[in-house]
């Protein structure tokens, strides 16, 4: 350890260059080579109580706030390839990119350059850093749009499943109702003297009437549920627009500091540090000379009885 520290101090100018001057130069180069802008957008997520069917995507945690659930869903969605493909299509359609290289570069770093955070219980903030302002705003706007469409698709699919289910149930209930109505009509035809008012006196008629009433109520209930689901399905787009609102549309924010290419600067700093450490290790490894008394004593098993500081007159000695 002492050897490394000694080398560090002995070659302090070199290490100062490696640890301070070089990172500073690289940071300046990064600023020049990697111009950056930051776009910010805010979303308000709500769950209106008067809508019977929640527009929230399936799998939301009931113990998290709407904002936290949205952040979670957005982060998962952003990591899918389908999202990248959708985003690419959307951005290509709006002629956002100047070249294919720029598009590939932006899309490949999307996951790290975009940060989605929950700011409070309902507010979601999307931060995105990219080389040019139009890219930043378009990417954020497209992300919001894709997320919104994803929610709509999710809910439409869920509604469709529910409609299919209720339609099947309703058909079964209607078939049963018709069957029971026929059975009742057949009974009344074969017993012309029997009246519905006498049902309490005739158990068989009473049972037939009960069956018919139950079937009618079931059909009515299923029909109501089916109507509600169809209504929700028809209005799912509008419901999502109500629940997920863009409070602040994407806009470029921040001064010079926030627009610095922090990632590249961090890489440059880490690279310089690694270089300095590697240089230190190589210098320590290649230095086989006697330096620290403790090292000498442990290596030679001989006590260092005196250390004499450098005497400039030593040059006159013969040795």
């Amino acid at each position: 350890m002492a050897k490394y520290v000694e080398i560090l101090f002995r070659h302090r100018l070199r290490f100062l260059i490696l640890l301070v001057v070089l990172p500073a130069e690289l940071a300046l180069a990064c600023i020049a080579l990697f111009p950056h802008q930051t776009a910010v957008s805010s979303l308000w997520v709500d769950t209106p109580a008067y809508i019977s069917v929640s527009p929230a995507a399936s799998g939301w945690d009931q113990y998290l706030t709407p904002a936290e659930n949205t952040v979670d869903a957005l982060n998962q969605l952003r990591s899918t390839n389908a999202f990248v493909i959708s985003l690419q299509s959307s951005l290509d359609a709006s002629n956002t990119f100047q070249s294919a290289g720029e598009r590939d570069s932006v899309l490949s770093t999307l996951l790290t350059d975009m940060v989605v955070t929950a700011s409070g219980s309902h507010l979601v903030v999307i931060n995105y850093t990219c080389p040019r302002a139009p890219i930043c705003t378009n990417v954020v706007a497209s992300t919001e749009q894709i997320y919104h469409q994803w929610l709509v698709d999710q809910e439409t699919a869920q509604a469709k499943v529910a409609i299919d289910f209720y339609t099947g149930q309703l058909a079964d209930a209607q078939t049963k109702l018709r069957s029971d109505e026929n059975a009742l009509a057949t009974y009344l035809a074969s017993h012309p003297n029997a009246k519905a008012a006498d049902a309490s006196l005739i158990p068989e008629l009473d049972q037939l009437l009960r069956n018919e009433n139950g079937d009618t109520q079931a059909v009515s209930s299923l029909q109501q549920q089916l109507d509600d689901t169809e209504l929700t399905n028809a209005a799912v787009g509008q419901l999502d627009s109500t629940v997920l609102k863009v409070v602040d549309p994407p806009r470029i924010v921040g001064g010079r500091l926030s627009s610095l290419p922090k990632k590249q600067m961090t890489i440059a700093a880490v690279a310089s540090l690694v270089l300095a450490v590697a240089m230190l290790v190589v210098m320590a490894w290649s230095d086989r000379s006697a330096r620290e008394p403790k090292d000498i004593e442990s290596r030679l098993q001989i006590p260092v009885v005196a250390t004499i500081h450098d005497l400039t007159l030593m040059g006159a000695a013969d040795g």
Binding site: I302, H309, L313, M314, A316, D318
Partner: protein, 243 residues
Amino acid sequence: MAREAQPPMQLAHVMETALRPLPPAPGFAMAPREHARPISLPPWFIDRCRQAYLSVSFPGPRRVLGITSALRGEGKTTVALGIATAVAADTGEPTILLECDLETSSDEFFGLTSGPGLSDWLEDEQALRILRMPPLANTYLIPAGGARPDAARVFYRLSQSTIVDDLQREFPNVIIDLPPLLSIAYSSLAAKVTERILLVARYGSTPIDDLEKAVFLLGRERISGLVLNGYTSRTPRWLRRLL
């Protein structure tokens, strides 16, 4: 044998002359004596050298200490001079620095003009020179002499001689500047000259692998410690304490 070639009487005579020169005859001036004038070491350097020699345990009142290094240019001669100065200052006893690095001349370092030295004396070519090293009156130097191509053979003669023992009769403190171990082929001989050796390494320069080789050549039991020279840590002191 070097011992046969250099009768003890001769060495004793040289030491006697160096330590107690005869006064001039009446009416004559004192003959000028050659002095070594090594580089001036700052007090903090000598203090660190003092710290080094004080950490070495000597069996008796006499101190014989070898200073060596793995490679050239690590400052062992300067450290040897610093230790000799510190010992002389602390003990007040005659202290001699014996230059045994026969392959490199240290004359310039010690402010000497070229002249004979230990190697020439070992080869029976010249008388042994023992020079005073001011500013302390009790510090002396035996220079190695000129650089020799046959240093290994001469050093062998040194290792076979009793010069260190003989010197101890007059000089309780003998500091021996040995050659760098990995730069010579006779490092095993160097290890025989003295029982206690301090290894000098230069901070940030001496490869730790070379130090390991030097330790292996000398034997860990002979090495009293390591002096880390040219220590220039850039780590702040408070951080060093934490580490």
